[in-house]
Symmetry: C2
Subunit: 117 residues, 2 copies
């Protein structure tokens, strides 16, 4: 991942509502969530939400697809993994071996282990 991409992803996540949105989409899994569902879950105005979705999308953190009259947004785990790898590499220069690479995968609905605090 390029530095500019990392900065874009960081900027996209560096806002309360957007971080909440992304977190919600991660929880929702690969199927994603309709914009309206996110709006009511986080109590955000639909146009405000569009604004934030757009930032996340441009940063490569979410994808969109239309389903009827709903727009379904889903988290792009790949980009999040790239960001984590970038930060890990840039934070552990010289002792890379000490930093286990963090992997980001969609939530498996069948797995019901401990909630991640």
């Amino acid at each position: 991942m390029e530095t500019s991409d990392a900065v874009a992803a960081l900027a996209a996540l560096a806002q309360d509502n957007r971080l909440d949105i992304f977190r919600l989409l991660v929880q929702a899994g690969p199927d994603g969530l309709a914009a309206g569902r996110v709006a009511e879950a986080l109590e955000l105005a639909p146009n405000t939400l569009t604004f934030h979705f757009d930032r996340l999308r441009v940063a490569g953190l979410v994808t969109v697809r239309r389903d009827g009259r709903s727009m379904i947004y889903a988290a792009r785990y790949e980009t999040m993994n790239g960001l984590l790898a970038f930060l890990t590499a840039n934070c552990c220069q010289g002792v890379a071996a000490a930093c286990a690479p963090a992997a980001c995968k969609p939530a498996k609905p069948t797995r019901k282990k401990e909630g991640v605090s």
Copy 2:
């Protein structure tokens, strides 16, 4: 790490120059680097640098100490670890086991393995 702290750290790193500054401090190790050294390395005006250092410091990503007439800034690995842990947890909800926690340690000058890409 609280969500608000994570947002603060993300915002602090979500800027080209600040990310470069932090990266330089990480490379410099626990002893840190004088503000002037950072200024000449990144070709930034000293007052601009103070502005950015302040943001990093408020976000808990760097520490400062005075040495003579120099201000020595050093990376706070602990906060970076907290951020990585937060992001990993928030990106891997439900499959936490799949995400090895990333650790961030100061560079050991004696260790000279492969450069982290």
